[in-house]
Symmetry: C2
Subunit: 622 residues, 2 copies
């Protein structure tokens, strides 16, 4: 057994040797998480080893600057412990980690004057009720209300309870010998439990994406994230994008119910898994908040999504909804659990973007922020505290690996990073094994490098061998395979891949990326025109979404996905939607802000913008 001390937490634990720092932190309840899930890709989980340091391994040398390694920084996910160790977890580290939910918010708060604090609207109160007598014949429910009043829960003049709670009361309070805990949310008692359970109050924030569904289990009394679970959206079997899912609902009777059931099943899996990982009981989950794009929103609620997909693109409702778990069939939570559905902005700018705006504090920033959520649809937000503009462009699924000859999602075996010079090509593979394909960030890197080397020209053409710059080595030149339908470029040889077949970047793949990046860039241009500001007035570019979190900023600028701005102005913000949902879960005040954002944000319909086609064609060039 070796002893580990954490600074500044000063927490001690004992563990067996050979375990990684990340695992030790998790066991000690210090949730820092990593954007890449501990795969040694993102280099974000760096901690300072004050005592007991071991030599840096190759991956650390690649991801960390030399001076940091010398100072004693190591990657928590890579460094294994073999002796007594003292680890310092830098406070700023928590900012960049998706799993440190509330710490992250705290970090953000420091930048703004108006703080956001946990609402007092949610509380659990232990009540030692007076037993009834002939002289005190108050009804059970009145007895509970009166006692809450005595306990100074005062902002509830019209406290109410649903029939479900009233049904529970008479037997429960007597079995508990009149000692109970009441859970109050706003003006409603949403649960009563035997004895004192005031210490356990949890909620879950969900981000429902077309491809991925994420859930964050949060302690409602501290705002701390306890666990995070992500799952693939099982609706994908009916089509990758929302249009094909909407078509499915139009073609088959009962399809809407099928899609609803699929997404609810996934939420249930996430709830169970998140609770299990955090070691809590799902009965102690009292609230959830859900952000998703407008189509996912409709499918979850069983609302007909047909008119979202048809011009003029009309959702059933854009407003936020305060529902109960019982309103969502088969959800595994108690009927009375409060379900907050974040508001949408338009048919193609959903509650996930509202949540993203909320979490990134664009709504109270004096300077202009450009926020880009890179998914199947590219949603773009431009604005400040004065006004916010949004639009949505059908970028297509190229960045998520679909419609690319060797494309795949950013999972095991995907090339996610590429470096090239005129002599050689190097790439990184997620989880190190054999290559299975290339994911969005690898694709952007590859095309950027090929543009730099002149292998792809301005119009996007992959040149012939003889057109190559004469500085390029044979090794590189020979990777160009010429063909009638355009050339292709060898990324990985057969011996490097899992199935033994070489993988290529085809002319078609380049075209797909051109279409996707042009859609995003043209959208940005239209918003800049609408707001009437020059590109340089953008104070920051925030890249959100799973793909947006791994992208190389320089490559993104090089391929023309985002405007050319100093790198320090570009931030990768990860799953801002999930974070926004968490903020709404924790604060009624922030829920109100959220509703204001959705109501006030101006949506620009690109399909009716005469300039969009022009900008789109222009943006196709590299």
């Amino acid at each position: 057994m070796i002893k580990i001390t954490f600074l500044p937490d000063k927490k001690n634990v004992k563990v067996n040797e050979g375990i990684t720092v990340l695992e030790v932190l998790e066991r000690a309840g210090i949730n820092i998480g990593t954007p890449c899930g501990g795969k040694g890709i993102c280099g974000k989980c760096k901690v300072l080893i004050n005592k007991g340091i071991t030599a840096a391994i190759l991956i650390e040398k690649e991801l960390l600057p030399e001076e940091e390694i010398e100072k004693g920084f190591r990657l928590a996910c890579q460094t294994k412990l073999f002796k007594d160790t003292v680890i310092e977890i830098p406070s700023e580290i928590r900012l960049n980690f998706k799993r440190v939910f509330f710490s992250n918010l705290k970090g953000d708060i420091r930048h703004f004057k108006n703080n956001f604090s946990l609402d007092s609207n949610f509380k659990k109160v232990f009540l030692d009720l007076k037993k009834p007598f002939l002289d005190d014949q108050r009804a059970d429910w009145e007895r509970i209300k009166d006692e809450l009043f005595l306990k100074k829960i005062e902002n509830i003049p019209n406290l109410r309870a649903s029939l479900e709670i009233l049904k529970k009361i008479p037997v429960l309070i007597r079995e508990a010998n009149f000692k109970i805990t009441a859970t109050v949310d706003n003006d409603e008692i949403i649960d009563i439990e035997k004895g004192d359970t005031t210490k356990s109050s949890y909620g879950i924030a969900f981000d429902i994406g077309t491809t991925t569904v994420a859930g964050y289990l949060i302690d409602l009394s501290t705002g701390k994230e306890l666990s995070a679970v992500a799952k693939t959206n099982p609706q994908a079997i009916h089509g990758d994008d929302i249009i094909s899912r909407i078509e499915f609902t139009q073609q088959y009777k009962g399809a809407l119910e099928i899609l609803q059931k699929e997404i609810v099943n996934t939420l249930n899996e996430i709830i169970r898994e998140a609770a299990q990982r955090a070691g809590i009981n799902t009965n102690n989950i009292y609230k959830i908040a859900v952000a998703g794009n407008t189509c996912m929103h409709h499918l979850l609620l069983g609302l007909n999504p047909s008119y979202i997909a048809l011009s003029p693109y009309i959702p059933v409702t854009k407003e936020s909804l305060n529902l109960k778990a019982k309103n969502i069939p088969k959800l595994v939570l108690e009927a009375t659990v409060n379900v907050y559905i974040l508001p949408n902005i338009s048919a193609f700018v959903g509650a996930d973007i509202t949540a993203g705006i909320l979490a990134t504090y664009i709504w109270r920033n004096k300077k202009i922020i450009l926020f880009v959520d890179l998914g199947t649809n590219g949603e773009i937000v431009l604005g400040s505290k004065k006004k916010i503009w949004t639009c949505s462009t059908a970028a297509g699924p190229a960045f998520e690996g679909a419609q690319i000859s060797s494309g795949m999602r950013a999972t095991e075996g995907a090339i996610d990073k590429v470096k090239m010079d005129n002599k050689s090509i190097a790439y990184r593979v997620i989880k190190d094994g054999k290559v299975r394909g290339i994911c969005g960030s690898g694709l952007i890197d590859l095309i950027a490098e090929m543009l730099n080397l002149g292998l792809i020209n301005k119009s996007g053409k992959l040149i012939n061998r003889e057109e190559c710059n004469n500085k390029l080595s044979e090794e590189i030149r020979n990777r160009i395979i010429e063909g009638q339908k355009g050339n292709k470029f060898l990324i990985a040889k057969g011996k490097e891949t899992e199935n033994g077949n070489p993988i290529y970047l085809t002319q078609g793949d380049i075209r797909e990326v051109q279409l996707a990046k042009a859609a995003i860039f043209a959208g940005i241009k239209i918003l800049l025109k609408e707001v009437n500001i020059p590109q340089d007035d953008i104070h920051k570019i925030l890249l959100a979404g799973a793909f947006g979190n791994f992208i190389n900023k320089e490559s993104a600028i090089r391929v023309g996905l985002i405007p050319q701005l100093p790198l320090k102005k570009i931030e990768l913000v990860g799953n801002a939607a999930g974070r926004g949902a968490g903020i709404a879960l924790l604060s009624e005040k922030m829920k109100k802000v959220c509703q204001d954002i959705a109501k006030e944000a101006k949506y620009i319909e690109l399909s009716s913008s005469p300039d969009f086609q022009k900008e789109y064609i222009k943006a196709m060039f590299f």
Copy 2:
């Protein structure tokens, strides 16, 4: 065809000859109804025939004073029309009729300064929505809200809709070519319909009694009652009184669900029948209000009633509830129909009494009113606008015919009226046929007459033949049958009864009536003591309940059921509970009054009153 003119309505109709005035009134939409249902028993439906009068028939001569007959008064239910007629409907007539729902209220209003008018909180609004375009991408729900705002439906800053309504919207508004009717209740859209349906808006007021369930279909735009349906409570198979029903829930798992299902089935039957009678569609029922005793309240809502029956007698809740039809399993109304559950006062003084207090305006009367609801439980209310006291006594089911040797309910074949002198006995039978038994009002009449003739003494003993006053005829004397277990008195001979067996009043029957009337009278005494006023300060006695509507006031005083006051101070108010539920259905303001009544009324627990037993024993004497 003969022509009828109604004064002061000045309405003309033409009908075929031979029809009764009551039928003509009903066809003309002038609902006056009759407490006895048009059986020619109660004598309440008297109208003045100004022109075209025909000779009074026997039944009218019996029920109306001679001078009224001379003036031209006739019974609407008995007088048939054979020539052109002018009928005047006295305004005061409307006061006493259970079926004249809103007219009745209007009548009451005249007596008070603070008027009650239909709330504007409920409204149906026709909307001709603008169709969506690319320049107007408001969501369906926003579009509806905006249009309502334009139509000046202003008191709805936070207008909301349930998921059920949101689900309905997208397809419905397009099928209706964007011409729809929205039904708004308070801050919620509770329905949307295609086209203009603003003319059809209905609600039902329910009174759920242990024995009888009544429903009144009301036009929400006028407050007019359109039809009334009463059914026997099918829970009676599990026991006549609430205690046996509560025991049933304790003995069998699933019994609560059975009882709930039974009462919901009955509500469904009433809804269908009331709608059919009025010729309306149940889809146009948007609100219901329910008054019932506390046990019926719990059974309808599926709340555990166990602790109502056990000392210290604690209900789950006494407060009013704003529910939805979907909260009551299997109710045949649309899920979004608003269900208002009137508030209870205590475990044994339920929402039916709250409704009775509301409907009789005790809460704003300056003078002291005594209100007695004569049912299986006798609920007593004493008070004025200053303060209201209530209590409940277990009168037992004697007045409803149970536990009486020849007892029966007030239906066909029941003796409901008895006249005796020292020579003979006369009785009236409901629907005139052969005698099947005696109901509560007949029983009270009979005992009163026997007390007057000395056949029953002060202690309740049915005397022997030889003890009879010598003025009594042989005919009467011979009706006393002496026996070891006490005497019995022949009411109807075998030849007069349906099954050929004579029916008797037994010594046991007299004891049952003594127990019942003593319970009521002692309750009244305790309340008078509590309020600390002499009996003579009672301004009015209101007798409510089905039985309370047919009782002979003089007989009730004679047997000692109610205090001896001038007859004109005693009023039979019929189903005040149903009327109160109807008032709550029509007015948010009156709902508020209703809640205040239940909250402020003071309940006196007789089982903990040391005086009650004393008064009870005293009241056993005649």
